[in-house]
Each structure stands twice: as C-alpha cells, then as structure tokens.
C-alpha cells in the first residue's frame, strides 16, 4: 500500500501536466520540445560580505561571498579556515553553529561532525539575478501580524 500511494500520485500529476501543458509557462521557455532552448546568461555571485536576513529561524544562512574553487573534500576544508571555532577569532568570520559540533544524538564533539562537514549541502552562494518563477513566500512575522499576533 505504501508503495502504491506515490505511484498513484505520480500518475495523477502526469495526467494533470498533460492537460495543463498549454497554459503553464515552464522553465524551458519558448523552445519546442525537439529544440535546445537558449541558455540564460550566467550571473555573478554576490560578493558583498554582508549577512543576509534568514527567511526562517532554522534556515541555513546563505554565503555572502565568492567561494570559487574552495576545496572541501576528504583532505581539507577551505571554509573552516575562517569559520571553524579555532579560526573565527582571527578571521572575525561567523563561527559555524554549535549544532555542527554535535553528533546525531546531541553529544558534543571536539571537531565539526562528519555529517556537517560538507558546507555546501546546506549553505549556498546567491546570484544577483531575476527569479525564474514568481515567489509568494511570506515571512512568519507577516503571517502572525495578519492574524493579530497571538504571541
């Protein structure tokens, strides 16, 4: 049963997309299915070193600088040369959050936990570009205000 539900959902979705295909603007743009669409121009990475607002308290902060060719692999982690506990005082970069020094059971470790080692799994740079799709995201504070703030 558990397998059938996603399968059914996929079928339904596929059906919908066939019906709605003419009305929906896709990321493909105007290119016909058998043609290669024109690639959008690459945009530069924002490199202002200014911390951005988080859209929710648990959102991993985005990276406010370039990280071209930063090596993060088994041998070394370039990000940690500024953001680790040891280096943060010298670099004045924000230290990686304390949760990164915990294992999955909440025990504290001496170094960054292996499961939190690959920074770019959660933290990403931002490009200065036009959004591809419209976004109606509302901040939680805005929603609360609308409801007369029950806090």
């Amino acid at each position: 049963m558990t397998i059938k539900i996603p399968a059914l959902a996929c079928l339904l979705l596929a059906g919908f997309s066939v019906i709605a295909a003419d009305n929906i603007a896709t990321l493909r743009g105007d290119a016909a299915l058998h043609e290669q669409g024109k690639a959008t121009a690459l945009t530069p990475v924002e490199n202002k070193d200014l911390r951005r607002k988080r859209n929710s308290p648990m959102e991993p902060p985005t990276i406010p600088h370039k990280i071209d060719n930063y090596q993060v692999d088994l041998r070394t982690n370039k990000c940690l040369t500024c953001h680790s506990r040891k280096r943060a005082a010298d670099s004045q970069a924000p230290m990686v959050s304390v949760t990164h020094y915990m294992d999955r059971y909440g025990n504290f470790l001496a170094a960054v936990s292996p499961r939190r080692y690959f920074c770019q799994q959660c933290h990403v740079v931002q490009h200065d570009s036009k959004p591809l799709v419209q976004n109606t995201f509302k901040d939680i504070d805005e929603l609360l205000q609308k409801q007369g703030d029950p806090r």
Binding site: H65, D68, N69, Q71, R75, R87, A111
Partner: protein, 196 residues
C-alpha cells in the same frame, strides 16, 4: 699528469701561427653568441608548458588541476603557465632553480611519482617544498604579476581589502600564507598553520 697540463698550457699561451688576430677574435665573438644564445634558448625551452607537461606525472596530475583555476582560465585570457610560478624570472635565481630541478629529472627516471597513488602519497611533501620556497622568497613568483603597490583596495571585496591592507601591507604575511592551493589541489592540511 703535470706534463700533460704543461703541454696544453703551452699550446694555449703560444701566439697563433696560422690564423689572423681578426679571425680569432671575430670567430670567438661569433661562437660566443652561438653558444650563449643556444644555452639560453635550450633553457627557455625547459620553461615551456609543452616541456613541463611532457611527462605524464605532470600532465595527468598537476596540469589537470590547474585547468580549473583562475590562473588557467579566466575573463581576460591572461594566463600563468608552470614556469611563471615555479621558476624565478631573474637569471641567477633561475639557474639556481634549474640546478635544483635536476632532482626532478632523477624522479622522472626512477618513477618517484609515476602512479596516481605514489603522487597522492607525496602530495603533502611536494606542496610543502613549494610553500617553503615561496615563503622564503616573499612570494616572488606571485609578485611578478601581482604588484602590491598597484593593488586598488577599493576594488577588492571588503574581506580581501581588510587582509591586504593590514597583514600583507605590514609584511607580517606573504601571499602564500593565505593563498595556498589556488592553482593545484591541496594535500591533507592537518597541522598546517592557519588550517583547521
């Protein structure tokens, strides 16, 4: 032995019998140009990228890694090749480096790093040689192109401007102290100063 030396010494100090002074001095001058020019041309050839990447050790490891970096591929097409960073431009320093590099010929012949595994095992040691060399000469090869006096801090990111206008300007740090691994991949950095 002494007789032999005396024999040749006598030939050298005897005045020429058959050749004119003009021929000898002009001939000597001409041969000088050919030998000196030939020597320098040969040495310049060993500075070319084709020569450096002629062996598979360089071609398949470090040269591949360079190709992803800004020193190989960038906006304006200015490019550094192996010798720009690894050989001093100044003639006397260059000769000294070339003599050191005879060790690398030895390494090629006896296959010191002729497999990927051997190269990886030696990566830290080889990297440390280069860091030590650049530290000792105050990152001379970087400064062949990147001149501190002409850096415009206002065009750098705040982070870069902050570091360059303090640590670098005071001479407390040199380029290689922070810019390790910009042209090739880094080895295991545990224990290296400034790395976690």
């Amino acid at each position: 032995m002494k007789k032999k030396i005396q024999f040749y010494w006598n030939i050298i100090r005897k005045p020429s019998v058959h050749y004119s002074l003009g021929f000898l001095s002009f001939g000597g001058f001409l041969m000088g140009i050919i030998f000196w020019g030939g020597f320098n041309t040969a040495m310049e050839f060993t500075n070319t990228e084709a020569f450096c990447t002629g062996c598979h050790e360089m071609h398949d490891n470090v040269y591949v890694e360079l190709q992803d970096t800004v020193h190989f591929n960038n906006r304006s097409g200015v490019r550094a090749m192996c010798s720009d960073c690894h050989v001093p431009h100044n003639w006397t320093d260059k000769i000294a480096r070339k003599m050191q590099a005879s060790k690398e010929v030895w390494g090629t012949i006896f296959g010191t790093i002729n497999t990927r595994e051997k190269f990886e095992a030696k990566r830290r040691e080889l990297a440390e040689h280069e860091w030590a060399r650049l530290k000792a000469n105050d990152s001379l090869e970087c400064r062949n192109c990147h001149n501190f006096d002409y850096m415009d801090f206002t065009k750098q990111s705040p982070r870069a401007a902050q570091q360059h206008s303090t640590a670098l300007a005071s001479g407390e740090k040199t380029c290689i102290d922070c810019h390790k691994g910009i042209a090739h991949q880094l080895p295991d950095m545990s224990g290296v100063e400034g790395w976690d």
